[in-house]
Each structure stands twice: as C-alpha cells, then as structure tokens.
Symmetry: C2
Subunit: 319 residues, 2 copies
DNA sequence: TTGAAAGCGCTACCAA
DNA sequence: TTGGTAGCGCTTTCAA
C-alpha cells in the first residue's frame, strides 16, 4: 500500500478501511515505527506546538501556570514547549528565537517587558501572543494578568488600615513583578505621607524561605523594627515568620507579616500567614484558551486585556 | 547568492567570506528571517535535542535536576525538551513516544519502573538513555541515582540509634521513590524487631507542607504518639513541624522529626529541621554529561550505574 | 570559498 | 476509500 494511506491511518484512522488499518497497526507495532515529527511539520507547515516562556521553574506559581496550560492544550493535540528565561531579557530573546524557529503556533510569555528585538520578532511572527502575570501598558496581543501595582498598593493599605505607620517592604531580586508591587507599595505609602526608603529591605537572590529568614534577621538588627512588613511573596513571608519566632518576636504583636500569592502552605503556618491571593491556575487556563481561540478564528493580532482579581486573605500573622 | 551559502553563513560563519556574511546578516535582520528547525532536522537527521521526563514540576527537586541538565546541555548546542509524566506510567509511555517522534538524541528519565512497551521503545530507539534518581535493578543504559532503600534504612536507623522504639513513617502518595524509602524504613524497623504497620501514616496527595500538617494533625489525634517520625520529604516534615508546634507538641522533646532531601528551608525552620541530604543538582549534571559522552563516543547502549551519596544532616528537630 | 543537485520523511492536492 | 505527484525548507555530497 502507499505511504499516504499509512499517514492517514495513523492520523485519522476512520478515513481508512478496517482491514488496512489493522494491517498498518500490526506493522507499526512489529517494526516499532515512530513517525518523524520534523517531516510532518515541514510537510504540513503545522507544528501543533505552543511555546511558553517562564522566568524560572523554581517557583511553584509558574508550575501552576504551566499545569493549567498543559491541561488546556494537550487534550486538543498541542505540544507545549517550555523555555526558561532565567529572569534575563537576553535569554528571553533567545527563547523567542528558538520557539519561532520551531514554528510554534502561539507564544505565551510571562512578563510584559521585552527587548526591542524580542517585541519586534513577536509582532512580525504573526502568531497569537499572550503576555501573562502583569498588565501590559502596550500589549502585543492578548494580555492575561493581574494588576501588580494595584495589588501592592492594596496590600500596603491593608496594613496601613490597621494603624501601622512604619510598614516595611521585603523583597529579593527586583524582577518585573517585584518592581511593580514595590511601586504599588510606594504609592500607598506616599499617599499616607509615610514613605521612607529605609523601610525597603532586600537582599539579592531568588525569593525563598531561606532568603526571607536572612532578610528578617537583618531587619531585627536594625535600630527600629517596622511594625509590619509586606513580603513580596509567601516564601519570603514564611522565612520572615520563622525567623521572627526564632528570635523571640511575636507575630503579629511585635511585627505583622503579610505575604503574596497565598501559596498552599500559608494557611498551615503557625501563626497562619495572611496573604494576597492570586489566580495563577486561572491565568494559565485563560492564556491557553485565548491562544486556542485566536488560532481557531485566525485573528492572531487581536488585542485584549483580561485582568484577574486578587484579594487579601486575612489570617493570624496580621491583626 | 545560493541558499547553501546562507545556510553556511548562519551555522558556521567563518566558512563564508566577510563580505557575503555581512550581506546575509543584514538581510536576515531586515527580513526577520528565522530558519525552520523542522527542515533542518529533517535534512540533517539531527535534532540537537535531548528529552527529559520528570514526574512533576511542583517539586523543587526536579527543578534543580532540570536546571543542571540545562546548564550542561544548552552551552553545547542542545535543546532540552521537558515532558511531565504526572507520576503516571501511561503518560510516561506517551512522553517517550512524543520524544522519539521528535528524534531526540538522548532521553533522560526520572525513575526506573516503566511499562513494558516504554522499556522496549527506549531500547529499540538505540539512543542513549539515562535513568535517574533511583538505582535500577536492570538499567536500560546509564543509571545515575541514589540508593533510596538504603537512604530510607539509614534515616530510620539514625532515629532508632537515639533509643526511639516507636518510629513512624509519614508519606503522601506512594510513587516509586516513596515506596523504596518506605521499604528501607521497613527493613530497618524489622531488623530492630519494631516494625508495626500502624506506624505508617499517609494521606493521598502530592507531598506538600500543607499535607504534612494534615497528616501530623491526624497523628496527634492517635491514641499513642510516635516518639519520632521520618517524613518522606522536607515539605511533609516542615508541615509536620509547624502543626506539632501549633498544637503544643515540643520538637524534638515530644516528637522528633526527620525530613528528606535537605531542601533550602530545612536549615532555617524553627527548630531547624534534620534531614537526609541528597544531590539533585549533581545528579542532573552527571545525567547530562553521560548523555553527551555517549553521544560523542557513539556507544548508546553502554551500561553503567553511578550511585550518589546521601548523608544525614543533624539539626534541632532530632536529638 | 561558492554552488548545483538530490533528498530527508512526511502531507496537500488532485485524481481514480 | 485509495494512490500518484509534488513539494515543504533545509543540508549533504560532490564539483568548480
């Protein structure tokens, strides 16, 4: 029989008669035949692949985001190609080049700040582009994110609302999202006439429980302890919480602690951790769904911004 | 000029004269030309890609493993294709099929238990295969792992060595590695004449801080508290630690807690967490290096087992 | 250093 | 339902 019949039997079994299909299946199993996807992609000029760029795999929020994308895209026959930009705008540019070289049919990217060239490549590619996690001032295509500035300001106002005046901000590396939350913090503090650069506590390094403990240890040696700290994420917050207890500070009596993202462990910390809840899974789901929709409607350039809610979950680490 | 000159200029710039190279670079930039990798792979029958199968991205140990693989493989021009099997042997089989379809030049896979067909596909593919994280009774090719049974037994004996008799075992889902550590625990307990099924505490679900807290909460309502617990990993251990403190149990006075993997936060928990240190990064590095070596020597079928050490890090949560 | 010809393994298109 | 033909966009091989 002809190659094309085999091709059909494998991709679309009911286009082929029962008998042939069975013979083909038999031969495939016996020979251990595996179709060459590169040839298929070249011939059909369809890759059935979607690229995703995340800054790291060490943070569970991106694992959740990716999980949602997988759950939306795999069942409809797309491969998800994950590339890690390691928080570097240059590596992001390379990642985009790699993905476009693979002729991915859409790109989902965490973040909204790209290099000039990266942005141009994304636009010129004429494939659906979804920017996620933040709100883009000038989205390339679809933008599914949360308003990080607003969230940072809300968190800060929540603490200020308890009458605290010396509210600190704790962070590790200043990636895009950290910077936006910091800006929100600064806005809220300035609004209250309480902004003071000395209340910003940071150490370089990716955000982790250990880093949170280190920063809190440094804060504790500071002349005047802040009354409350807003930590850039729950990892830092948990580390800060543990260190506070270790050195004998009461939480929230001596210092109140507020985290961000409401990770699974926040509820079971002791004291339990107040946090700003965000929707990473939902964001991944929407990102995947929008990519698919644009692919189906053939409107790769459509622009749209979807803003996801955040909310403050009040637990024991704040009043 | 001819296409082949362009191809050369892009892959191997110094095979082409300066003048042509500059003209080509200019055109590439102006047109936004991106080479089609599928065509390249088809023509050269080289994918420059290596496949990695991990059970989940939620656990940082696999992120560390992947990071090492990336650091070894990207600089020498390989793409790393990561697929997630979600702890399912069927999904692992599909992942292998996908990767072979992409003509990856080697496969690195976490775990040693595969379906019959998966094993056959891996062998028939005639590409280097690296099984990682465990010691395989019958390795397919290279095996870089740690002796999980031994580690489980060592951890248990460490606790028994302090005179404890009621040493419990805490775990979530029973994946391959969990089962091996459990076997080690059972061996050590039987050896001491102390094995008792009622000392195994588990709840279904992926291992997390929250799950650890839930299991400990259940243990506490148990008639007789174990004197010590060995937790399948540090996430469970930290959850157990926090819950113990929350309900007023002294650690290690009322109950000693030992974790596994020595994650970054173990040292800064309060009390700090004793744990079994393992080398995930080193494992990824070796896995990548062996894959490369076999690729270069052209001996895809070479067998070899590399056993990585583990060690017990004693901190405050155990005597 | 450059180029011409052929072909990688599939699938689209049209025909039977 | 099946097959023939052509071609996807590169790289290999050999020649100039």
């Amino acid at each position: 029989m002809s190659p094309i019949t085999v091709s059909r039997a494998l991709r679309n079994p009911d286009m082929v008669s029962d008998e042939l299909r069975q013979r083909i299946d038999g031969a495939v199993n016996k020979l251990g035949y595996v179709p060459n996807i590169a040839a298929s992609r070249l011939a059909s000029s369809r890759s059935h692949a979607i690229g995703v760029i995340v800054p790291t795999l060490y943070n569970v929020i991106f694992a959740e985001f990716l999980q949602a994308l997988h759950e939306v895209l795999l069942p409809v026959g797309f491969q998800v190609i994950v590339v890690n930009s390691r928080y570097s705008i240059e590596e992001e540019e390379n990642a985009i080049r790699t993905l476009l070289g693979q002729r991915v049919e859409a790109i989902v990217i965490v973040g909204v700040n790209h290099s000039k060239l990266a942005r141009r490549m994304l636009i010129q590619s004429r494939i659906p582009v979804v920017e996620a996690f933040q709100i883009a001032p000038e989205p390339i295509g679809i933008n599914v994110g949360l308003d990080q500035i607003q969230a940072g300001a809300d968190a800060t106002r929540f603490l200020l609302g308890h009458g605290y005046r010396r509210v600190g901000f704790v962070l590790g590396q200043r990636d895009e999202r950290a910077v936006e939350r910091l800006r929100g913090y600064q806005l809220a503090m300035e609004e209250a006439g309480l902004f003071d650069e000395n209340l910003i506590f940071s150490q370089t390094g990716t955000s982790s429980i250990a880093l949170g403990a280190r920063v809190m240890s440094e804060i504790a040696t500071h002349a005047q302890l802040p009354e409350a700290v807003f930590c850039i994420d729950d990892n830092l917050a948990l580390g800060a919480l543990q260190e506070s207890r270790r050195i004998g500070l009461k939480v929230p009596g001596d210092i109140a602690i507020l985290g961000f993202h409401d990770l699974e462990f926040a509820a079971c910390a002791s004291p339990s951790l107040s946090s700003v809840a965000t929707q990473r899974y939902e964001m991944g789901k929407l990102a995947g769904e929008y990519a698919l929709r644009l692919l189906n409607t053939g409107k790769p350039g459509e622009r749209r911004t979807v803003k996801l809610d955040h909310s403050i979950v009040r637990r024991q680490s704040t009043p």
